[in-house]
């Protein structure tokens, strides 16, 4: 027991510094299943309140869908609660192999390997397939889990300016002598909601003999005409070498993720990826739920179509009201406020109006780019969006930002 007062003091000081910098994260307790409306206790001890949820990754509204819940129940009955094993010892059931096959078909790839999460997939994949003779060239706004995965790999690393194809091409030329070059991007960028221009990236990767890696966590299930992802939207299905994605967002929202792509690269992950080798298999109940989600999505585009309509309605409503938005056409619609305190105050006032939406600021987004990130769901009905819009307008008027541009808002509130 070496937890002396001195050691305790070190951690207390660090936590105080985090709090002092306004970066202390707290959890808000939710008393209902995930849905368009949730019951929240905030702050701790306050009366529970029913609010419209505008910040879940529940894009297709399947997190609590009765069909998914029923399939999960059935999986629990037929395949048990847990496997108490990693995949390669005694943790692979028939449904794990079935899910890998179904994901491969859904994404249009060659093979798939499941991971406990997409964070694990991203953390494990680069180390498994690259050596010090190789180079990783990543967009500067890729997700934190990719950054961690890059750190774990011995390959050389570099970055290119967000969505800047000329800069990417310069880097590909610069690293022409490397054994393997891999270009790394998100499909949909989670903070801005913009989509990577995969058609141009595929062309560059073909020209310079580079692999292309796409994290489609904020895309799988709803981007593209049949919801296969960003590669479908840009007509490059079959041309992405590695896709990682999650089952924790649109595809049921529980947990789990995968690496899907060229069969040799997937096999390298099966042999060498540490989060796969040393972490438990995905629980059968989750596998059964995701299988049901994929079956539903393969039969009908109804949910992704509704999500698309909802997203366009919401975006247009905010634009008409005079908010500054990040441009895009995905269900991620960031309302730009630029100033960190304004973003926090705005979020608090929205909550008072019955709307649950979170403010994001540095270091999660660049300094001076604070925002409320709204996320639309197929579970939203138009009346939810109208009520949320009414609240946004009311709070927007309070802070006098409607119809103001970036420069004017920064003049009023600072960066």
């Amino acid at each position: 027991m070496g937890y002396s007062d001195k050691v305790r003091g070190i951690y207390q000081d660090t936590l105080q510094k985090i709090e002092g910098a306004g970066l202390f994260k707290t959890e808000r307790k939710i008393f209902s299943a995930q849905s368009a409306e949730i019951e929240v206790e905030f702050p701790a001890g306050a009366p529970r309140k029913r609010v419209i949820n505008m910040c879940a990754n529940n894009y297709l509204g399947l997190s609590s869908h009765p069909d998914v819940v029923a399939a999960a129940h059935q999986g629990l009955d037929t395949h048990g609660y847990g496997m108490s094993s990693v995949r390669f010892i005694c943790g692979t059931q028939d449904i794990h192999k079935e899910l890998e096959q179904k994901i491969t078909e859904f994404l249009g790839t060659e093979d798939t390997i499941l991971f406990p999460s997409c964070m694990d997939a991203n953390a494990g994949v680069f180390e498994a397939i690259l050596t010090e003779e190789d180079v990783m060239i990543s967009d500067r706004l890729v997700h934190a889990s990719i950054i961690d995965g890059i750190r774990l790999s011995p390959a050389m690393r570099d970055t290119f300016k967000h969505q800047n194809m000329e800069h990417l091409e310069q880097k590909l030329i610069q690293f022409a002598d490397k054994r393997v070059k891999i270009v790394i991007t998100d499909g949909v960028f989670s903070m801005d909601g913009d989509t990577a221009r995969l058609d141009e990236m595929v062309a560059l990767c073909e020209k310079y003999d580079a692999l292309l890696f796409v994290d489609d966590s904020h895309s799988s299930g709803f981007i593209g005409k049949t919801g296969r992802g960003t590669h479908e939207k840009y007509n490059v299905m079959g041309k992405i070498d590695i896709i990682t994605t999650t089952f924790g967002k649109a595809l049921g929202g529980a947990s789990g993720g995968c690496v899907s792509g060229r069969k040799e690269l997937v096999e390298m992950c099966r042999q060498k990826a540490r989060p796969y080798l040393f972490s438990n298999t995905i629980a059968p109940v989750v596998v059964a739920g995701v299988l049901n989600v994929l079956e539903t999505l393969s039969k009908s585009t109804e949910r992704r179509d509704k999500l698309e309509t909802n997203s366009a309605y919401w975006r247009q409503g905010l634009l008409d009201a005079g908010f500054v938005l990040q441009p895009g056409d995905t269900p991620i619609v960031p309302v730009m406020l630029f100033n960190a305190k304004l973003a926090q105050d705005f979020s608090r006032d929205l909550y008072a109006e019955g709307i649950y939406a979170i403010g994001f600021f540095f270091p999660v987004v660049p300094n001076g780019a604070a925002r409320i990130r709204t996320q639309i769901s197929a579970a939203h009905e138009i009346h939810h969006l109208d009520k949320a819009l009414e609240a946004f307008i009311k709070v927007g008027k309070k802070y006098n930002i409607l119809g103001k541009d970036k420069k004017q808002i920064i003049e009023m509130y600072g960066m």
Binding site: I150, D158, K161
Partner: protein, 83 residues
């Protein structure tokens, strides 16, 4: 030889700024200001080593030493003097 400060400033503006209208001075905080992240710092180090034919050891290529064009210039000058 072109002024080191201006060479470094030009490289930083070209390589890291998305908006050419953003202001950048010799004292703009690059890393603590969120303009250059630790990954992107690698390309800056490589550029300095290739341009000035110097080798910057990892324990000197720190976020503090790379935080402004002025501090980077000091570092380059120090290693040029040792050549």
């Amino acid at each position: 030889m072109e002024n080191i400060k201006d060479v470094v400033l030009k490289y930083v503006v070209d390589e890291y700024l998305d908006d050419p209208e953003d202001e950048m001075t010799y004292e703009t905080p690059l890393i603590s200001g969120g303009i250059v992240d630790s990954f992107s710092m690698v390309s800056l180090k490589r550029f300095l080593e290739a341009t000035y034919k110097i080798s910057l050891p990892d324990d000197r290529a720190t976020p503090e030493a790379f935080d402004t064009v002025n501090s980077i210039t000091d570092l380059v000058n120090e290693f040029l003097a040792k050549k």
